[in-house]
Symmetry: C2
Subunit: 247 residues, 2 copies
């Protein structure tokens, strides 16, 4: 209780970003190759220390996002994810990271050439499965970020953040399929996104040409909470069936 009896330990604060996007219909995460001391040369989430002059945490996340991508704040979704502060997570000392989740529409070109470090879009699969090794506890953070996005797709209009200003329903379905890693039934999907009033609204200019029938274009509606939600299909057999925990 007597908080000020002993002098509190200062810690260093960083922001780390799980930036997700779709590239050729697959979920990708933006990673950078570290050019500095701990874990040099290893892949890591984009991020960095808070700026001197009392920078706000969310501002720092926006700044890092702008530095790593060509994205301005208004066309990306950015939200706080969680804090990772395990004492042993950074060999330099006590560094506490506020992880953020960012969702970006498919970018104009691979990655804007950033100054020192090269950034790359890596398939989420590669990161989550551990086939690519990440610095610090960044694989855990990335895993949490993807899981957060998966859940949020069910109940919020987050999916539209993966699309541009205007999008087709088929495009939106691709988002769900890529993030969830499942195939969805087109007819049921159409029914559900349209049943959730305020999720998507038709853009007047409803067409586009890709060699088939023109598709209607939509844009994000006013509602951020989906009702009814789009429940993610449960993969056939879940649980840890190692010994028989089932009913």
């Amino acid at each position: 209780m007597q908080h000020d009896a002993w002098s509190p330990t200062p810690v260093l604060l960083t922001v780390d970003l799980v930036i997700l996007t779709l590239r050729d219909s697959r979920l990708h995460i933006l990673l950078v190759k570290r050019g500095e001391d701990p874990f040099q040369g290893m892949l890591a989430l984009p991020g960095g220390f808070l700026n001197h002059d009392g920078e706000e945490i969310l501002d720092a996340a926006h700044r890092e996002l702008a530095e790593e991508t060509a994205l301005t704040s208004d066309c990306v979704h950015l939200e706080q994810l969680a804090v990772y502060g395990e004492a042993s997570r950074d060999p330099r000392g006590r560094v506490v990271s506020v992880a953020h989740l960012a969702i970006a529409p498919e970018l104009p070109d691979p990655v804007a050439g950033t100054d020192a470090t090269d950034a790359a879009w890596i398939p989420a699969e590669t990161v989550l499965s551990g086939k690519a090794a990440l610095a610090f506890d960044h694989r855990r953070i990335a895993t949490d970020g993807v899981e957060h996005a998966r859940t949020k797709l069910e109940f919020s209009s987050l999916a539209t953040a993966f699309c541009g200003e205007e999008f087709t329903i088929a495009g939106l379905q691709q988002v769900y399929e890529a993030v969830w890693g499942t195939r969805l039934d087109t007819r049921n999907f159409y029914r559900k996104v349209q049943a959730a009033k305020g999720f998507i609204i038709p853009a007047g200019t409803d067409r586009r040409s890709t060699g088939g029938r023109p598709a209607r274009l939509y844009r994000a509606g006013p509602k951020t909470v989906l009702f009814p939600p789009l429940i993610r299909p449960t993969p056939p057999a879940e649980e840890e069936n190692t010994k028989g925990e089932e009913e």
Copy 2:
């Protein structure tokens, strides 16, 4: 990107706790009266700075919880909520708080007398409505914590954390009603908690005496994810109807 060009600013880390419990069927939050410098005498969430020697954040939360309540770590639910780091939130300087949500069963006695500060269970209603003023941004944190609990009750077995080891279905219903602030239909509630396999399991010794028919006792089941979930009833008229945003 060049993170180490300028020396990063150290910040002070605190943990703050939104500790929820039921008292006479109403949701309460544990608050302490501050005995120290900023906001002295004002109500605040229990919490404090991280201990010297590289204490883990979650350990610090457990420590604070133990200091303010008589609860040992194993009979309470404790999880990270979010980070609050606005530069202006603490007049002492840059203090970043990792907020946690704790759920406790109804305690043996009001509050274990703690050393310097006196703690008290305040009705959640009083805190959320702003009738009680809280130090720092603690009202916001408390609001977020309660909202988090409300949502999590829908999809997880969190409600059992409000109950003791063994509980009745009626008792569990009281939890839902208190946290959500709604009345529920007994028959539908029974159907739903029993439909969610692994949520509650019968305790062999199924009875108790309170002047009526004995109730069967249950304990928390192995599943922490509820399926089907117990969807919270939507209050009749939501939305900002100020101008007519409806469909």
